[in-house]
Amino acid sequence: MSGTEKNNWLEKVRAMVGREALPPQTAADPVNLPMIRRWCEAMGESDPKYLDGTAAPPAMLFVWTMGHFRAGPGREGGTLLGLDLVEAAGFTSVVATNVEEEYLRELRCGDVLTQRITLDAISEEKKTGLGVGHFVTYRYEFSDQKGEVVGRTLFRVLKFRPPAKTNETAARVDTDTAGVTQPLHPRPAITRDGAFFWEGLNQRKLLVRKCGSCGRLHHPPGPMCPDCNSLEWTTQQCSGRGRIHSFVVVHQPQIPGFQYPLPVALVDLEEGVRIVANLRDIAPGKVRINMPVEVEFVEVGKDFVIPAFRERQAG
């Protein structure tokens, strides 16, 4: 995109500042006690003043006129003024960055709110951890059934250009303990039966379930020993050495958190259990069944370590 084109769209958006960003919208339902109670439950709010309907929590201001998150008949939310131009310029991803609220009076059950939104500002191009983008600010004004203004919200989003290849998921990021931002790595669903495995990895240990009765090892872990049916168990730390039992190289479809082509191995650990893990520093074309490997630990997110294997000199 040339500089002129770039300025063109930005100038157009700037010229819209101060204008109505969406037609005024009146809440489908008045301020009401069931919604207040449900909100309080979700937020952990226990003030009796709210639970008995004396007043609505001020922080619910945004709730009453909130748009639907799923499209459908009668649910056309519309696009906020200017956002289509920002998106057309390539800043297709979005993350909310600031919300500033001003409460002018307490809301009571029966109040019917109407929201009016104006485009407040668009920033210069900024470089952020997520990518290059523009901050876009909208000003929401809420009035009651008498037309009296009861509150205001300043809502700022960052519209940014997603890094190549992960355009739909660029906003899905995680931060490791060193504070480095990285794509969100899929996390496991964890139960009490397998939590020790993931906790062990955080301590750089590869643990497997060991039966407390017959001493046999099992992976993936479960509550009962399949061999002797004992419910007693402990864990054993593995050496991390093993051989590749089988492997694949994933090309499609691609999900955030990985580099493709992605080799994934099924490793026979020398203790006699098998485990799925990624491979490190082995070219996909070089992976072979029976290749000797050893474990290392890779931090892929905050408090989230997974095992990976690299080639080891046999011996």
């Binding site: 669903a189 492997f247 259990v273 799925v276 893990a277």
Partner: protein, 390 residues
């Protein structure tokens, strides 16, 4: 001793919508269209239906179907777990239900917009909730194994290593299926056969699986009507007897990721189904003239041929290479084109093809079919049927 369920129930009607990539209507509509067509074919009324059975991953509730077809008294409804592995199990359920007197007419159904409405082969990253079912995905998904193709590929790679099979051996399964589909006007790949070179040129999805090793994603529905064998004799179609029906799950069984058992490519659950089917039907592999072997991914057709003793372990690649699964071969396989060629209706279109082979009405009709074998999903707890002429 004769198995008490053998030949006690019969398939008396099959129905289907067209198979497409965008049906343009709801999954519920697809379901009721297929069910109505199957009942019409059988000469039964919707009010005759008192049982419904399907398997998981179908989005249509039994009761929604029942109220839409104007049902009154639904006495039996069951839904079998593990997706495609359950494909043949509803017919098994139906046979047990009608034989025991629990129900009279049971309809088995599958209806999905798995191409236009969602993508069936997409990556699955489960929500991090502490359930046993979701936790099992934790052993693979955090490492980037998040699709059915990736799970099957792990077993396929080991199969190649153990038996000297190649990706060409997988490709020959697809070539055979597409050759069958080329004759089938209902098939998405009607008149579109491929060569082995086409297969070898197709892109990697998950090595060692190429695009042409993976079945389609399809929109469509199929329904199967089951009733007692004695009642079947008085209906419109030549009855197709349920001579064998079985389910199976085995050693260290997991859902698509049975990677921790001794032999990861033997499909021991399918072997268990095979043993039960042969025992119930009182026959062996030599008595089967044609088979519909679940082919969501081509590699798993090979160990299925072995699990049912059509050839020895590790020799399926030679069986296929010698043309034994083609028309005129020892065991023509997936004569509708399979899921690689006709459509991926999660295995239920395969049951319909088994019925046609027994009736003698397939577009790729095998001569003198006494028994047709139909299998369900591989790599998962599974099921199977032996269908027979009355």
């Amino acid at each position: 001793m004769t198995h008490p369920l053998k030949d006690q129930a019969a398939i008396v009607g099959i129905g289907a919508t067209e198979f497409s990539k965008d049906s343009g209507r709801s999954e519920l509509q697809l379901a009721v269209e297929a069910i109505k067509a199957a009942l019409d074919e059988a000469g039964l009324k919707t009010s005759d239906v008192d049982g419904l059975s399907t398997f998981t991953m179908d989005n249509n509730p039994e009761i929604e179907i029942f109220r839409n077809i104007g049902g009154r008294n639904l006495k039996f409804f069951s839904r079998i777990e593990y997706g495609g592995g359950g494909a043949c199990a509803p017919v098994h359920q139906a046979a047990m239900a009608v034989h025991s007197g629990v129900a009279d007419v049971v309809v088995c159904y599958r209806a999905m917009n798995e191409r236009s409405q969602y993508r069936f082969g997409a990556s699955y990253v489960p929500p991090p909730l502490p359930s046993a079912a979701l936790a099992t995905f934790g052993w693979t998904v955090p490492f980037g194994l998040a699709t059915p193709a990736s799970w099957v590929a792990m077993c396929a790679q080991r199969y190649m290593h153990d038996f000297g099979a190649t990706t060409e051996d997988f490709g020959r399964v697809t070539v055979a299926g597409r050759r069958m589909a080329a004759n089938n006007p209902r098939a998405w790949f009607y008149q579109k056969p491929i060569t082995l070179a086409d297969h070898q040129k197709s892109r990697w999805i998950v090595e060692p699986l190429r695009l042409l090793d993976c079945c389609q994603e399809s929109d469509g529905a199929v329904a199967i009507v089951v009733t007692r064998a004695d009642r079947a004799r008085h209906l419109r179609q030549k009855p197709v007897l349920i001579r064998g029906a079985a389910q199976g799950a085995c050693d260290d069984q997991m859902n698509m990721t049975s990677f921790y058992r001794k032999d990861i490519s033997a499909l021991s659950e399918m072997r268990l189904v095979a043993k039960q089917l042969y025992a119930m039907a009182g026959i062996g592999p030599k008595d089967i003239q044609t088979a519909v072997l679940y082919d969501h991914f081509s590699p798993f057709v090979l160990p299925q041929l072995e699990a049912f003793d059509f050839c020895k372990r590790g020799e399926a690649k030679d069986f296929v290479k010698d043309g034994q699964i083609d028309m005129g071969g020892r065991l023509p396989v997936n004569t509708n084109g399979g899921q690689l060629g006709e459509a991926y209706i999660h295995g239920v279109n395969g049951i319909a093809e088994g019925v046609r082979q027994v009736r003698g009405s397939s577009v790729n009709q095998v001569k003198d079919v006494q028994h047709a074998l139909v299998t369900a999903g591989t790599g998962v707890p599974t099921s199977g049927l032996i269908l027979a002429a009355a």
